[in-house]
Amino acid sequence: MEITKKQFKFNWRRLLFSALVLYVVFLIGPIAGLDVPAIVANIQSNPSQLIQFLIIGISNGAIIAIIALGYTMVYGIIELINFAHGDVYMIGVFTSLTTLSLTGTLTSQDPVRIVLGLIFALVVSVVVCAVLNASIERLAYRRLRNAPRLAPLISAIGMSFIIENIGLIWAGQSWLVPLFGTTGGASQKSFPDMLGILVKLSGFNGGDVNLFASTPLFTQWRLTLNVKDLLVIVLAVSLMIGLYLFVQRTKLGKAMRATAQNRDAAKMLGIDIDWVITATFLIGGGLAGAAGLMAGLYNNTAWWFMGFRAGLQSFTAAVLGGIGNIQGAMLGGFLIGLLASFSDGYLNARWTNAWVFTVLVLILLFRPTGLLGENTTQKA
């Protein structure tokens, strides 16, 4: 009885706070584009747009999910929010762009060469980001492993700033990043739509990037499912399945789960904790690298600060799904992708981050363990 009373009391405070949040939402809602009648009218006049935003949301969500996996795996194993992770992803975008540029893929007219160039860029980006992420752990987190929780967190924020500035310098080097008319490192760079170019050159699908352009359903509804949508979704989902099988089936994957659940017990059984943690950072970084190439090809921009928004969205996705939970990060990624897509489309793109933050606050308030939160029944 005592316990239920306590919970009830706590709920009142939550209710009051959510009322406050709702008040703020209704206050700033119209500014943020939350104009319900206009949105309804918009959907009614152009229902196919809804499906289009769905497709964009799923594609972007897949990228967010891949980045979120890096947050959630690292948190699961050393209970640290690796704030530099979003910036590792940004480095992935630039590594891909530079690799594509240096190998001449960007200007190539040969479809085979473009395909090979893209595969090579994927490999380079994965390797660079994996090594970068593991180096960050070695440099900035390992010696703080037994320090108070705040120390590695601040160290992580510091690493984030350092990498952002590396990105800023990188973006300003015209021999590394094609300028396409922009100047300096601070501006957004264009990441050419290599997949679109590839489709046109190869004559695949009649040279049309829209996969089902000729079907009546797609013409009638004015829908587009581009090659890049499909590629991002297929690649992301295969990475997720691969990761899931790796963690469930392989010896190293099991050692990771064991370390996440009880580090001392893992040590006692002969698991080399340092190696397991390094492997976790390698895998998380590699995924961010793959996400970097996918995002570059999908959204066609490269910017030194893009890791911040991606990091925020992915971190929220990881928390939404239940931080430390791999399937949760995947689910959360898709949900945040959809939220961001609908906010960009129907509300106001400038306020998308605010909505994502609102979701973060609401989860932390009402369900801190996330949608698929782990139930830790350790002590019997």
Binding site: A255, N262, M268, L269, G270, D272, A380
Partner: protein
């Protein structure tokens, strides 16, 4: 043979072990008894490399362990069923046992060893696909012991295997410990239940606030007046 010589271990500034010397010969059950906070678990953690001795030596079969990394110590042949069981709550019983065999390079007898664990603990076989965290306390204890056995260690460290268990289960666990030893496993057993521990052990050490105050054959310790008064509850 496991040998600790004049081991001093600290937690920060707290002097937890004040010069402990213990030997466990091959094929023995040696028990370490003492009250809460005497340093029993710290002794096991020091052997395992989870806490480092500030001075003194720990050797197993002549190889010194005190500077070896914890995972190397496990690989060398030290396995532990730790205090609080420390099973992996979100892994299945089967996966927990698999993790026990993590250090083994030779897995030829893996299936037989698994069958052996299941023959000692049939309850685990019934719950093979259940998550570790959903097991009862007794079952978790069995799992922790089974997991340690899967490593086929040179020496098995058991930390309070009777803690929190019903009397009937305590007897079952101690029967199994005896059986394991008869099959050739060397065991260092830490217990608060001194009566049970001394009844199956060959020799015993009494630990008091980080120091060994008595060391003798288990039979003689059971008859020792101080031991009877303090640990066996005999007036």
């Amino acid at each position: 043979m496991l040998e600790l010589k004049d081991v001093h271990t600290y937690y920060g500034n707290i002097h937890a072990l004040k010069g402990i010397s213990i030997t466990v010969k091959d094929g023995e059950i040696v028990t370490l008894i003492g009250s809460n906070g005497a340093g029993k678990s710290t002794t096991l953690r020091t052997i395992q490399g989870l806490n480092r001795p500030r001075s003194g030596t720990v050797t197993l079969d002549g190889v010194s362990l005190e500077k070896m990394e914890a995972h190397k110590i496990a690989e060398f042949g030290v396995a532990q069923s730790p205090e609080g069981r420390m099973i992996f709550p979100r892994m299945t019983v089967m996966e927990n046992l698999e993790m026990g065999a993590y250090v083994r390079k030779d897995l030829t007898s893996y299936k037989d060893d698994l069958e052996h664990v299941f023959s000692l603990f049939p309850r685990l076989k019934e719950r093979i696909n259940q998550k570790g965290g959903t097991l009862s306390g007794g079952e978790q204890q069995m799992l922790a012991m089974g997991r340690a056995m899967m490593a086929k260690p040179k020496i098995l460290l058991l930390d309070e295997p009777s803690m929190g268990l019903a009397p009937l289960l305590v007897e079952l666990i101690f029967d199994i410990i005896k059986k394991l030893n008869e099959e050739g496993t060397t065991i260092l057993l830490v217990e608060q239940n001194a009566l049970m521990a001394l009844s199956i052990a060959h020799r015993g050490y009494v630990l008091q606030t980080g120091e060994i105050v008595l060391a003798d054959d288990a039979k003689k310790l059971m008859k020792n007046e101080d031991v009877q008064k303090t640990y066996l509850g005999v007036e």
